[in-house]
Amino acid sequence: MKPEANSSPWNRRDFPEAAREALAAEPLPTAPFEHSQTRRNVRHATDIIQAKRNAVVAELPEWQALRSAGAAIRAHTLEHLDHYLLEFEANCVRRGGHVHWAADAADARRLVLEILAPHAPREVIKIKTMTSEEIGLNACLEEHGIHPVETDLAELIIQLGHDRPSHFVVPALHKSRGQIRDLFASAMHRPELTDSPEELAAAARSYLRQKFLTTPVAISGANFLLADTGGVCIVESEGNGRMCLTLPDVLVTVVGIEKVLPCFQDLEVFLQTLPRSATGERMNPYNSIWSGTPAGDGPREFHVILLDNGRSPILADAESRQTLRCIRCAACLNACPVYHQTGGHAYESVYAGPIGAILTPQLHAMHDAQSLPYASSLCGACYEVCPVEINIPEVLIHLRSQVVQQQQSTLTGSLGLWNIAMKSAAFLMQDGGRLGAAVRLAQTAQAPLVSRNGFIEWMPGPLSGWTKTRDLPALPAESFRAWWRRTRSAQPATPAASEPHHE
């Protein structure tokens, strides 16, 4: 199941290419200022969130117990996912909600359009939702003459700037206040605005207030679905979410099938771990929980679209299934040294950072985004901060081996330079005689490449990829194996003889 490419606003270049642009030491002529500014903004923001997160996690003595409980609840839910989805559906419907199932992105977009059709809205208000980004909903709505209004401050910044989110908790963290000021001043016709964050937030408040009071249809994602009550939980800061959830007549919630929890009471774990991990707060300003269409309170018509879009096949792999435990806190992005350097756009994916590096290729059945499992140094910082104990480095390695196997299974892949090099290396290293012969050959062959300083600074053809950024020490005239034979072969190498003696 390969979702069609044109549904995504993402280009899907390989990570190294996109990262090189983000990191460009000599800024690209296209946007020299933007790049260095973006990197400064990303570092500033991730440093602040990391510090806050570490402080509020350290003050909870039971943090490890909460992590383990969260991991166990999420793992259990995934093992019984069909059961809990059916329980959620039955309870949501019993309370007046409508539940729809979307096998893929096209299915989800068609459902949204069908639900909206009888209301013929010209505009809809939206809460920040990653599933909407995943299915390319905004572009689809625009095509059908419906203008989506993003109401989250960061999403509004992204929308007004025709930009892409670079982080899934703080989507506009790559923008500075000056850049935001310029965007708002022109889009809201407010030339007098300064770059004070208070003033910019107030501008967003007055810009959106009338929309909240008059727009009859809203679209949201969800943080959690609750099977036992048919409930939906949305966690937010600004109150734009509450506006969209309570004021319109019609609410459509698009949510991944993996977001379900067994019980209302399970929130006692996740409402502790999610805010602390996501924004470094003990609790975010607002959490909303409701089920169906409660009498006289909130929308009269409520639809949940359960989105699969490549999730259910991930359950089949016991090792990488843990990817679906994710509660989208983005702590792994903030902790990741690679994300810290490149920012989110280099991942060319709706889901950036370490979790994106394992989730995105799997959502595409490993047919796409194959460079992402390599976008990591495997340092393990992501695993350490994950509030549901997803062992991201383990999954990364697992996926790398899948990428290799997949490449080997094709003719071009099996004849590829990399595969031949690795196969040859395996052949040489299996046998001491072969390795010795290869080393002797290399000792002679390297001579024209070795510089005066004893290093190889340039290699020809595909090998130049290595020497472009580092020097390679030349092979010594005598290999270790040759030295051992020369100095030790006469004497028996007993442990007693070879161990140093301490006087």
Partner: protein, 220 residues
């Protein structure tokens, strides 16, 4: 595999794919047994002395930039509300249904919020409610739709929220709050005034929800 999808097919397809991926028939009986033995070694209750919870709650509210006034008894609520309104030069507050008349001081307007539309609420200077439970550890007020707590939009549209919390409603930790909630009612956790950190990670008070939050903590 990806032919034209017929409406209604997707449900069967997704459930079949999940079952196939998990490699078993839907094990409905097993789910509840496995759920019952999940490890939960975090604090479900904390033996926190009430005085400690109160001081923690006050600290948290202060950090959120929410004002808190302590009131010695229920009889003192009216005077405390009058003082808050006078300090803000505010002519009154909308009140949700079920608020006892004895809480309302004379000389101010207290229109009932329930019949008001969202546009009308937007013109109200503030809203008065009670709550279901409050959490010291996180400085949270939890409201559930109904008498004294109003509907969800009541504590959202007006720019000022004044909330009455009785000390007996205050619990120390998040897990202690859950047994006191009705899982079937619309529920809102409110932790400080609406805020955002979307601009350079600076926490700014007040975006779309109430920009001012007042708590009256009443001994009982």
């Amino acid at each position: 595999m990806n032919n034209q999808i017929q409406p209604g097919d997707s449900r069967q397809r997704i459930l079949a794919r999940i079952a196939a991926s998990l490699g078993r028939d839907p094990a409905i009986a097993a789910a509840s047994a496995a759920y019952a033995v999940l490890p939960r070694h975090y604090r479900a209750t904390a033996a926190t002395p009430p005085a400690q919870s109160i001081s923690r709650f006050l600290d948290r509210l202060h950090e959120y930039n929410a004002a808190c006034v302590r009131v010695a008894s229920e009889a003192g609520i009216a005077a405390a509300i009058a003082a808050v309104l006078a300090a803000r030069s505010q002519s009154g507050l909308a009140v949700v249904s079920g608020i006892p008349p004895a809480w309302l001081p004379p000389g101010f307007n207290f229109p009932l919020a329930n019949p008001l539309t969202a546009e009308e609420l937007d013109r109200q200077p503030g809203i008065l409610t009670a709550c279901a439970v409050a959490i010291a550890e996180t400085g949270s007020l939890v409201l559930q739709s109904g008498p004294r707590q109003g509907l969800r939009l009541h504590t959202l549209v007006p720019d000022h929220h004044l909330c009455i919390v009785f000390e007996s409603q205050l619990v120390a930790t998040v897990p202690e709050a859950f047994p006191r909630l009705d899982p079937n009612l619309p529920t809102t956790f409110i932790s400080g005034p609406s805020a955002t950190a979307d601009i350079e990670m600076t926490r700014i008070k007040g975006v779309h929800g109430p920009r001012s939050l007042h708590v009256l903590l009443v001994a009982d």
